[in-house]
């Protein structure tokens, strides 16, 4: 009941901010950018005069799965940045402005407060990622060749787990400081550090959440979920639960003002 009240309020706020419109649109743009530029690359090169007279193009068309993965890596940079930007103030901003004082002085459960906000942002972000990757699939299908829709769905689902992890880090950081800009900084820093550690100790950290995207290309080609990906996802889900639990506990101990 109370959870739904907060969830609905968050969704209403996103609607009044036009987030339900602009975030999906922006994600679609991010996702179709690479398939389109790859497809038009010969023409682009030609019009900029990058090639000597008489030279002919002989660029192999990349396989469809590779082009789809370009969209995912675009999500991994620009998409993650947008996610961090739109979530950086969800709790920190309310505490900074002082609204949190009025809300949390009511008998509001901290668990409801944190998880409802989390769920509302997940709804928005997963929808955006889904339509973005759907658009990417459409263009890949149209311009590069056949790619299994079922495989795309499975890949998107596993990628969604990673995105929920990113969002959970941002929410967790939201409870540590009142400054939204600092939340952004912490979220991006943590992700970068995790990325570096996971790639340096690649063989030791097969189950690191940031490794999920690297398992996706083979998943997309074969539709088979590797054991490592199962474990990485499971480990990520556990981490998400811990992050949420940590966020709730931090907020409980913190003074709201």
């Amino acid at each position: 009941m109370q959870w739904m009240t907060i969830y609905k309020k968050e969704c209403l706020e996103s609607a009044r901010n036009y987030k339900w419109v602009w975030v999906p649109l922006v994600f679609i743009l991010f996702c179709i950018m690479d398939p389109l530029t790859t497809y038009y690359l010969p023409q682009i090169l030609e019009s900029t005069g990058g090639l000597p007279e008489g030279a002919t193009f002989d660029m192999p068309t990349p396989p469809p799965a590779n082009v789809f993965m370009m969209s995912i890596s675009q999500m991994n940079t620009l998409g993650v940045l947008v996610i961090a930007l739109i979530t950086m103030g969800t709790i920190a901003g309310e505490r900074k402005s002082g609204v949190a004082e009025l809300i949390l002085v009511k008998p509001v459960s901290y668990t409801n407060y944190v998880t409802a906000k989390w769920a509302a942002h997940i709804s928005l972000v997963l929808l955006s990622i889904f339509v973005g990757l759907l658009a990417s699939w459409y263009y890949v299908q149209l311009l590069f060749g056949d790619i299994s829709f079922i495989y795309v769905l499975i890949t998107t689902a596993f990628y969604g787990v990673y995105i929920i992890f990113v969002l959970s880090i941002s929410l967790f950081m939201n409870t540590w400081t009142k400054v939204p800009g600092f939340v952004l900084f912490l979220t991006i820093s943590i992700l970068m550090i995790l990325n570096i550690i996971s790639s340096v100790f690649s063989h030791l950290l097969e189950w690191s959440p940031t490794k999920i995207p690297s398992y996706l290309p083979s998943l997309l080609r074969s539709g088979e979920v590797e054991t490592d990906l199962w474990f990485a996802s499971l480990f990520t889900i556990v981490t998400i639960v811990l992050l949420l639990f940590g966020a709730i506990q931090t907020l409980k101990r913190k003074e709201i003002v």
Binding site: Y18, L25, V26, I28, V82, L85, G89, Y139
Partner: protein
């Protein structure tokens, strides 16, 4: 002359591919402008945001949504 004809021909051939891209960009721009007009206060002058939204493709509207909207409203 030849170049423009080529360009027109190119656009005609590829309209089905490029149209969705253009539509999304225009919708994004219009949404940003509607939001801007209805906002009571923005971070920085409104006319500046109008120019940014209109002339900086894609990034302009995104920048407005993230940084332009005042937290007061």
């Amino acid at each position: 002359m030849l170049l423009t004809q080529n360009a027109i021909q190119f656009i005609n051939e590829n309209l089905a591919i490029i149209a969705p891209l253009l539509i999304i960009q225009v919708v994004l721009m219009i949404t940003a402008l509607v939001s801007l007009i209805r906002a009571e206060a923005t971070n920085g002058p409104k006319w500046m945001w109008v120019l940014i939204i209109l002339f900086i493709n894609t990034i302009g509207p995104i920048a407005y949504f993230i940084f332009g909207r005042s937290h007061e409203s």
